[in-house]
Structure formats: structure tokens, C-alpha cells
């Protein structure tokens, strides 16, 4: 694996390639560049598979978009369905979706976030968190967790199953169902269905509380977690007009690493004036940045940590108490945002608890009114922004006179976090890599850093402790200094 970089910025540096890192519903890889002192000077997370949804959705009838774009992801398809429907509501002739539709969209979204967070914490991250980052590779998988911690495994299974059952009841299928359509929803569930699901939600609350307690304990008991892959970042997230935590709707806010509010209540539809995207020749994933700060200083992070930092409060009691505790125990000082990357797992569980509380409160409601409206003047363009499990999700469409999509721009959560993930990989490698030996703990630590973001490439970043990774250390003359890794399966 002898390559010389043509990038002038990397001239004279030694290249270490981890390829493939994992799949991105496909694949990704990591390369590290070391200076002569074996310190990591640059890290790049490459997304090497081309997705193309923004291209092939063009020319399709706009009402197909919420169905098609769900296929972007098998973990959080609901988020894409909702963001696309929100964007196309005005195109369908609904300046705002009716109250009943918004209610059930919110319930669907809460179920989606709950099951996605349960999947990530219990199935993807728990092996590292419970056994340690340097545990034997053969134990870093969910079946080993089930063997050693059966109660944790049962809770994870129950939570994920419950979330998927709500999704199935509301949208017809656990994956790639349909509830939200442009203009509203296709049908509201029966009162009996709502009551049944609400009773199940009540039964899930203890598991959610336990999950928050477990995540907190794991974080506080390990001093290493506070500084692991530590890179102070700017945060971006939606909040409601009064600053409340809101996963479904709101305005964009930005907080600097030192806690200063850089942007407050920015209209989501005007995201283009706030965020610019640049491309790099070595990855199919774009690099969004804040226009005002520029491409070098304008990177930011989205997701649970951003949301908990930026909101003024969470509108459910238990989650808000948990959030206040999280802030006080994670942030370095009062008034500053929490920054520790691995505290994201704890934040994720607080959101899980919040979603369960929302479902308990909302599933039994039966809002009156139409499910769908098309009474307003139809628009030719729409933007839908939502807080998906992994972070802010933006869908932007333009539609021509024949109701066909003429433009689509999607900025998914993982894309927002692209630079932040690259920075975390560099920081993790800097901490654990001494430049000589390519070790199993190194490989897993890099995976841990990426996995904390719960990226859409997590389909592979949690491979049962044995992702196929190949690492080579090559000096400037092309001589291989060290090699190591795990073989790729067939």
C-alpha cells in the first residue's frame, strides 16, 4: 500500500491507511498522516461509495420523494420520510400540515428516535462501553453483551422492539412504511391502537431510566472518557421558538465551543444562507461549514450533544432533570457546553427517555381535524428540517410545472458531522498511536471515535468487534515500516 500524496498540504508526511474502515450502507476508510516525530498531523475519513439520491430523485413526481428517500437509510428511514414531507407540504398546498397530522408525525418521530438510540447504545456501542475499548476483539459484540449482561440485552431488545412496533402501527411497516405524505398524513391510528401503544410506552419507562443511569455510570467511572478524542467544537441544532428541545420542528441555532451564541432562531428554510458545502477529492461526502466562519473554522457538530447543549430546556420532566445533571457533570464549567465526545452516549439516552415520555403523553391523544390539507396556494419549492437521531437533517426540493422534482439537496446528519468526525479520528489516533505498532486497540479506538457520532456508516462501525481493517505505515520513500490489521471477510 505505497502511495505518495499529491496534496501539497501533506507533503513530507507518512501515510497510514485503514481500508476499509467499514461499510456506509457501503464503505469508508481512514487515512492518517504522520510527521517525522510520528505524530498524527492529518486524519481523513473517506466515504467511498456514491449514493446519488439527489440525482435520481429528479424527474420523479414530488409525492414519491418521501417514499423514495426513505431508502437512504435502513436505520432512520422515518426521519427522511418526515423531512421530505415537511419540505413538500407547501408544494402540495399546505402552508402548514394540520394539527392532527403534526401530532402523529411527532409520535412517529419519537418512536423512530427511541428505537434508533436504543439500537446504537445497546447493540452498537455497549460492547466497547461495557467491556472496554481494549477488550478482546472477539468479545466486542452484542451476543457477548447478552451473555455477560443479560438484563442490559433484554432492555435493549425491548426498547428497540417497542419503537419499531409503534412505527409499524402508525405507518404500516417497521422499515420503509408510510404515514407522512405531502400535506399531512395518510391516516390517523384508532383510539384503541393509541391506548395499547401508550400502555406499552409506560412499561418502557423503567428501562429508559435504567439506560440513562447506566450511561451516566459508565461515563463517570472512567476518567479516560472525558478526554478521549477531545476536540472542542461548535454546535448546531433546532430548537422551538422559546428554546425548548424539539426534534420535529423549530429554528436553527449555533453555539461556539466557548458557549457564545453565534446564531439564534435562524429560519430553517434559509439554511442556505447559514451553511455552505465544500467537496474534497478524496470522499463522496461533502463538508458543510458555517459561511460566516469559513471552511477552516466553520465546522460544527450536530446530534444529541448539540441538542442538549443548545436547548433552554426539555419539555418532559424526567429528561430535563437528567439533562441538567448531564450538563453539570460533563461541562468543564458553568455556562460552557458539554464537549466530551463520549458523553454523547449519555446524552443519547436522555433523549431516549424524553421520547418515551413524549409517547406516554401523546399516544392516547386523539386530535380532531383533517389528516391532510391542500387548500393553500401551491409552492414550487420547499425546505424541511428535522432533528434526526444523528442530528439535523435538511431536505430541500424544487418542483416544476409538471409536479416533477427538478432539484433536490439533502444534507444528512452524518454529513454535518463530517469534519467533526475527521477531527475526532485524528485526536483519537494522536492519543493511542505511537507511530510504530499497528495494534488492535488502535483500530478499535478509531472505531470508537467514529461510532460516538452514531453515523450512518455505523452499519459497519459496530461490526462485531472485528471490522476488516488494514493498516500500513509507509515512510516517505515508500518503504513499509509496519503492517497490521484484521483480514476482510468474504
Amino acid at each position: 500500500m505505497t502511495e505518495r500524496s499529491v496534496d501539497p498540504a501533506l507533503a513530507g508526511l507518512h501515510r497510514v491507511a485503514i481500508d476499509p474502515l467499514t461499510r456506509v450502507e457501503g464503505h469508508g476508510k481512514v487515512t492518517l498522516w504522520l510527521d517525522d516525530d510520528r505524530r498524527v498531523r492529518e486524519a481523513r475519513l473517506h466515504i467511498v461509495e456514491f449514493r446519488g439520491f439527489e440525482r435520481f430523485i429528479r424527474g420523479r413526481p414530488y409525492w414519491e420523494a418521501p417514499v423514495v428517500v426513505q431508502r437512504l437509510c435502513g436505520i432512520c428511514p422515518v426521519s427522511h420520510q418526515l423531512a421530505a414531507s415537511k419540505a413538500l407540504d407547501p408544494v402540495a398546498g399546505a402552508a402548514a400540515a394540520p394539527a392532527a397530522a403534526v401530532h402523529w408525525r411527532r409520535m412517529l418521530h419519537a418512536a423512530q428516535v427511541l428505537q434508533s438510540h436504543a439500537l446504537h447504545f445497546f447493540h452498537l456501542s455497549s460492547p466497547d462501553l461495557l467491556f472496554g475499548f481494549r477488550a478482546e476483539a472477539g468479545r466486542r459484540h452484542i451476543l457477548a453483551v447478552a451473555e455477560a449482561y443479560p438484563d442490559v440485552a433484554r432492555q435493549g431488545i425491548a426498547l428497540r422492539r417497542f419503537g419499531q412496533q409503534v412505527i409499524e402501527a402508525l405507518s404500516g411497516k417497521r422499515i420503509h412504511g408510510v404515514l407522512a405524505v405531502p400535506g399531512g398524513i395518510n391516516a390517523a391510528p384508532s383510539a384503541e391502537t393509541g391506548r395499547r401503544l401508550r400502555d406499552q410506552a409506560l412499561e418502557m419507562l423503567p428501562a429508559c431510566r435504567d439506560a440513562v443511569a447506566l450511561a451516566r455510570r459508565i461515563y463517570l467511572e472512567d476518567p479516560e472518557q472525558a478526554r478521549f478524542a477531545h476536540v472542542p467544537t461548535t454546535f448546531l441544532a433546532l430548537t422551538a421558538p422559546d428554546g425548548a428541545f424539539d426534534l420535529y420542528d423549530g429554528r436553527l441555532n449555533v453555539m461556539a465551543a466557548d458557549g457564545r451564541r453565534l446564531v439564534e432562531h435562524w429560519p430553517a428554510a434559509e439554511y442556505g444562507a447559514l451553511i455552505e458545502e465544500r467537496v474534497a477529492p478524496w470522499s463522496y461526502m461533502k463538508f458543510p461549514y458555517l459561511r460566516a466562519q469559513g471552511p477552516v473554522k466553520g465546522s460544527y457538530r450536530v446530534g444529541p450533544m448539540a441538542r442538549l447543549n443548545l436547548c433552554a430546556y426539555m419539555p418532559t420532566t424526567e429528561a430535563e432533570l437528567a439533562r441538567q445533571q448531564w450538563l453539570s457533570e460533563v461541562a468543564d464549567s458553568a455556562g460552557e457546553p458539554a464537549q466530551a465526545l463520549l458523553a454523547t452516549h449519555w446524552a443519547r439516552m436522555i433523549e431516549l427517555l424524553h421520547c418515551a415520555e413524549l409517547l406516554v403523553a401523546g399516544l392516547e391523544e386523539t386530535p380532531r381535524g383533517p389528516c391532510r390539507v391542500q387548500d393553500d396556494a401551491r409552492q414550487r419549492e420547499g425546505v424541511g428540517v428535522i432533528e434526526a437521531p444523528r442530528g439535523t437533517l435538511i431536505h430541500h426540493y424544487q418542483v416544476d410545472e409538471e409536479d416533477l422534482v427538478s432539484m433536490a439537496n439533502l444534507i444528512v446528519s452524518t454529513t454535518h458531522n463530517n469534519q467533526a468526525m475527521n477531527d475526532a479520528v485524528r485526536a483519537a489516533a494522536d492519543q493511542v498511536f505511537d507511530g510504530s505498532e499497528v495494534s488492535e486497540p488502535l483500530l478499535n479506538c478509531i472505531e470508537v471515535a467514529v461510532r460516538a457520532f452514531d453515523p450512518c456508516l455505523s452499519c459497519a462501525t459496530h461490526a462485531l468487534g472485528r471490522m476488516p481493517l488494514q493498516v500500513s505505515v509507509i515512510d516517505a520513500t515508500g518503504r513499509t515500516l509496519a503492517e497490521g490489521g484484521r483480514g476482510a471477510p468474504g
Binding site: 461499510r23 435502513g74 447493540h123 452498537l124 472477539g138 459484540h141 452484542i142 451476543l143 457477548a144 447478552a146 451473555e147 443479560p150 440485552a153 433484554r154 435493549g156 431488545i157 425491548a158 428497540r160 422492539r161 419499531q164 417497521r174 422499515i175 452499519c459 459497519a460 459496530h462 461490526a463 462485531l464 468487534g465 472485528r466 471490522m467 476488516p468 471477510p489
Partner: protein, 162 residues
């Protein structure tokens, strides 16, 4: 105690939809088919995942159904035992791994289980089964009918020639 048929597959990928298609056929027959278990659960998913261990709770027997890329035609059947097999991704567990997850999480012995692997030929993003796979599905449905009648006929364990 119920009997579970748990199929996995993607109907958008031609013969990968053999499992879900079988479930669809069984759904049509279930209320007018004498001899089948009274408490029969028919579940179709895209992939078997760890949370499907919960679907095994209260089951007296489980039939996993999947399309086979290679192997005997029209189908192959084998008994499945719990085994914590490690694969590349936890998003897609094997039938053995689902059984193992059940035993580890719930501290109970997994119910008797079989795997019905129906031979397919095309797994590209296309609509509908191939002609040959449809014939295999017919044969697999006949076998499944026998399995369900055996499962509904009395206490386990029951033997079933494959």
C-alpha cells in the same frame, strides 16, 4: 404457546423476496387451513436482528425462512441450534445467532427451530420472483404446510422428514 414462522428478505430484490412472499401466501391460507396451529404468528422482516429474539418468547417451535443464493433446489431444510456466530455486522444475524441471543438475554432454552432456505437465482434490484424461484416457492409452501400441520398436531418434539 405459539408457533412462529419468521421470514426475512427484501421484495425489492427479486428472489430475495422469497421469504416474505411465502409469508404472504400463508397469511391468505391461515384462517381456512385445517390442522395448522391455532396460535400461529407469521412475521416478515428485511433482516433478522437481535430484537427478533423477543419474537421467540412463548414459542413452542420456530421456522426461519430465507432465500438461498446457492445450495439445493428447490429448497433445503435443517434443524437450527443456538450458536453465537460472529459475522461482519450485527444488523443481520443468522438464525443460530438469534436463537443464541434469545438464550443469553432471557436465560431460557430456545424453542426447537428449523431453517427453510429456498433457492433463488436473481438478487438484483428488480420486482418479482424469477420463474424458477416461483416453482421452488410452490414446493416450499407444500413442505411448510406439512410442517405447520405437524406443529399444530400435538406436543413437541415432533419429527418431520425433510
Amino acid at each position: 404457546m405459539s408457533v412462529l414462522v419468521l421470514a426475512c428478505g427484501n421484495t425489492c430484490r427479486s428472489d430475495d423476496g422469497l421469504g416474505p412472499t411465502l409469508i404472504g401466501r400463508l397469511q391468505v391460507r391461515r384462517y381456512c387451513q385445517p390442522g395448522w396451529p391455532r396460535d400461529l404468528r407469521l412475521v416478515s422482516v428485511v433482516q433478522w436482528q437481535v430484537e427478533h429474539a423477543a419474537d421467540l418468547l412463548g414459542c413452542q417451535a420456530v421456522l426461519f425462512v430465507d432465500a438461498a443464493v446457492r445450495g439445493p433446489s428447490p429448497y433445503a431444510v435443517r434443524a437450527v441450534s443456538p450458536e453465537p456466530t460472529i459475522s461482519y455486522s450485527t444488523h443481520a444475524l443468522s438464525a443460530s445467532a438469534v436463537l443464541a441471543a434469545f438464550e443469553q438475554a432471557y436465560q431460557k432454552t430456545a424453542p426447537p427451530a428449523w431453517l427453510l432456505a429456498i433457492r433463488g437465482y436473481c438478487f438484483e434490484p428488480e420486482d418479482g420472483l424469477t420463474r424458477l424461484a416461483t416453482q421452488h416457492l410452490d414446493a416450499a409452501e407444500t413442505w411448510t404446510d406439512r410442517w405447520l400441520k405437524a406443529a399444530g398436531g400435538g406436543p413437541l418434539p415432533f419429527a418431520l422428514d425433510t
